[in-house]
Amino acid sequence: MNKLVDNLNNPDDVRLSSLSHLESLESESIHILREVASECENPALLFSGGKDSAVVLHLALKAFYPERLPFTLLHVDTEHNYPEVIQYRDAVVSHNELKLIVASVGDSIKKGRVHLRAENEPRNKHQTVTLLDAIEEHGFDVCIGGARRDEEKARAKERIFSFRDEFGQWDPKNQRPELWNLYNARVFPGENIRVFPISNWTEEDVWEYIKREDIQLPSIYFSHRRSVVRRNSLLVPITDLTPPLDGEDVEEMFVRFRTVGDITCTAPVASSARSIDEIIFETKTTRVTERGATRLDDQTSEASMELRKKEGYF
């Protein structure tokens, strides 16, 4: 009756049972999400409609299946969106009957919490104020995010359960030790934990998982025609918010987005990849990192992500 003894004597069985790398990553993420649900009072899942947050939401639905999601979704909205992303966000929310709170940078501007220096400037960094205000207003003790450690060097150092003080600040010099799979999710009122269930996933893992799980995404992740200009080795999409500068040539190109965010600071890459398989192929063979190819804002200073995170960014 005891199968384990057989296993012990038969190393072949043991080998068969070991998990593939996607299975181990998925299992780790589900474990993390279940810890959040059990240990925390009022968690929010940050959902922007981007691929990483789509993967986190998918994992969360699996983690609690068939029970409803024990989290509220929170979108910190720059209002600098591609319409396809917002349509996608709303479709996912209604399809799954989820609860979504939208906290917009526009409202923070109206309330005088955010001051713009230029009308159409990137609102990426302003999201911090909107996020922290939303955390306070709704009393979230945890925000679950889709950040990955392979994205950027400040992220590479962050814990899975990342403590933020009552000012939302991250202190990279003094992170809580985080051993084995034992997470410390404890906070006092006003403090907050950011939890990153896909910390250990790479861009390639995300795409392979999207394929395996058949996760739907906004259409702009796939190759499409778009007007762009070439600026500082990046492609800048031409929109109402981002008109061409004097002397720039507007070109029509086939592009796709590797990451979606504020229109004014997210660049697409030239690509003819229309299917997930083609995207996976490009991801495996690309010579440029996700951020290097797409972020207009991180290149200003070597430490810009680190600074933003210290101030309370995602």
Partner: protein, 431 residues
């Protein structure tokens, strides 16, 4: 090579790199990423630019692991940086650990999830205090395999005899600490010999290069052949009012137990026991992460277990097979590593997190502290300060279910939290 078994390789390997400052860890990681062609152009052009700014002729690979500005201000690496790369045969997660003693807690954070420790040793200057400390701590958190990269072989003329002397002493050292598998590779991170490519400088070395080793070494975390242990994270309650919109789940009004299989395997029909209260039940169904029911599940999988009849189970409880029970006790022997700047306070209770269980504990006695350098016992006088490792006796508020750490890496570990400030103040292994 020691303990290598090609057929047992699984998809993902987690390893740490550690060693004393200046032994060449940054250069080695840079070399590994560069020669395995996993670097991207923008990463390369960034380090080319930094190298030029610093007036260097060639690209300094160590700049790839350059840290945060918070760290540059102090000129030391404070925390672990995780790096990801893959070769056609495997994916790797590297925990690049800080060397400074003050940040031991961050080094053990990295080591606690690693399958293998890669420890750098300078061929000329040999083992230093920090090397020994890292070696001890990696083993202490559960790493059972170590590979030493004896670096800067160029500085000793790629000498075989000198290498063999170092090799033998490293093997003795690691075996003395308790490592099950020990390998030693002569490398030159600066010139690339035996990191990814073999190079021409050490034809006498016939073993694997470092990358070959990493591609072939088994992931030590595969504990599916151990005794079954399952820690209940959450009780799932299914009823008509709380099911997901897109669920085709048919049974309503049932309870399931969500959690991670910590070790072993479980099958439908198995008789399980709840370690905390002794109740028993038969596994009726196992809901897998693909939302389908499976016949069995194994170590490392997050699943939901349904039992044939309802028993008293809540978060923190552990399932075992009825004939392979866990130990249950209130008094425990443990090896503790104290992390916090505030020293241990014998009058306090601390919150212990163990699996998904949380329980208050007191440290009854500190038997001795360990000098990590000499491995000798020091007397303790009921005090522990940051970075101390001590053998202690704990008393918990109620029974806890556990296995000894030497038997089960998953159920034999815990952390301590100070409820006054919520700091994670210590980690321990049950002895």
């Amino acid at each position: 090579m020691d303990g290598l078994n090609q057929s047992a390789v699984s998809g993902l390997l987690r390893f740490i790199t550690a060693g004393s400052v200046d032994d060449g860890k940054s250069t080695l990681i840079g070399r590994l990423l560069f020669d395995s062609k996993t670097l991207h152009e923008d990463q390369l052009s960034a380090i080319e630019a930094s190298s030029r700014k610093r007036g260097m002729q060639s690209v300094d690979l160590s700049l790839l692991t350059d840290g945060l500005s918070a760290e540059r201000e102090q000129g030391i690496t404070i925390d672990v940086a995780y790096r990801y790369f893959s070769t056609p045969s495997r994916k790797f997660i590297v925990g690049d650990s800080p060397g400074h003693i003050q940040y031991t807690r961050n080094m053990v954070t990295a080591a606690s999830t690693a399958d293998v420790a890669v420890i750098l040793v300078d061929a000329e200057s040999g083992v230093k205090t920090q090397t020994r400390r890292h070696l001890y701590l990696a083993h202490w958190v559960g790493v059972s395999r170590v590979v030493f990269a004896v670096n800067k072989m160029d500085t000793i003329g790629h000498d075989q005899t000198a290498f063999e002397l170092i090799r033998d002493s490293l093997i003795d050292l690691a075996r003395g600490i308790g490592y099950e598998a020990v390998d030693v590779i002569p490398v030159s991170a600066l010139h690339g010999d035996n990191v990814v490519n073999r190079g021409d400088n050490m034809p006498w070395y016939l073993g694997s290069t470092l990358l070959e080793y990493l591609e072939q070494v088994p992931g030590a975390h595969d504990s599916s052949n151990q005794i079954f242990r399952f820690s209940v994270q959450r009780v799932l309650r299914v009823n008509r009012d709380n099911v997901q919109r897109c669920s085709d789940f048919e049974n309503m009004d049932c309870r399931g137990y969500q959690g991670l299989i910590l070790s072993g395997t479980v099958q439908v029909g198995d008789q399980i026991a709840v370690s905390q209260n002794g109740s028993q039940a038969t596994v009726e169904r196992i809901l897998l992460s693909n939302k389908e029911f499976g016949q069995s599940a194994t170590s490392g999988q997050s699943v939901t277990i349904f039992l044939e009849h309802d028993i008293d189970v809540s978060r923190g409880y552990t399932f075992s097979k009825s004939d392979q029970p866990m130990s249950v006790a209130r008094d425990l022997d443990a090896a503790l590593c104290w992390f916090d700047e505030v020293p241990f306070d014998g009058s306090k209770t601390y919150l212990m997190k163990h699996g998904s269980d949380s329980v208050r504990v007191k440290v009854k006695e500190i038997q001795y502290r360990v000098d990590v350098d000499s491995l000798e016992k020091l007397d303790a006088e009921h005090r522990m300060v940051m970075n101390d490792i001590a053998r202690i006796q704990l008393r918990s508020q109620r029974d806890i279910a556990f296995d000894k750490f030497t038997v089960n890496r998953q159920t034999g570990v815990f952390i301590l939290i100070d409820e006054i400030n919520n700091h994670t103040v210590a980690a321990g292994t049950i002895q």
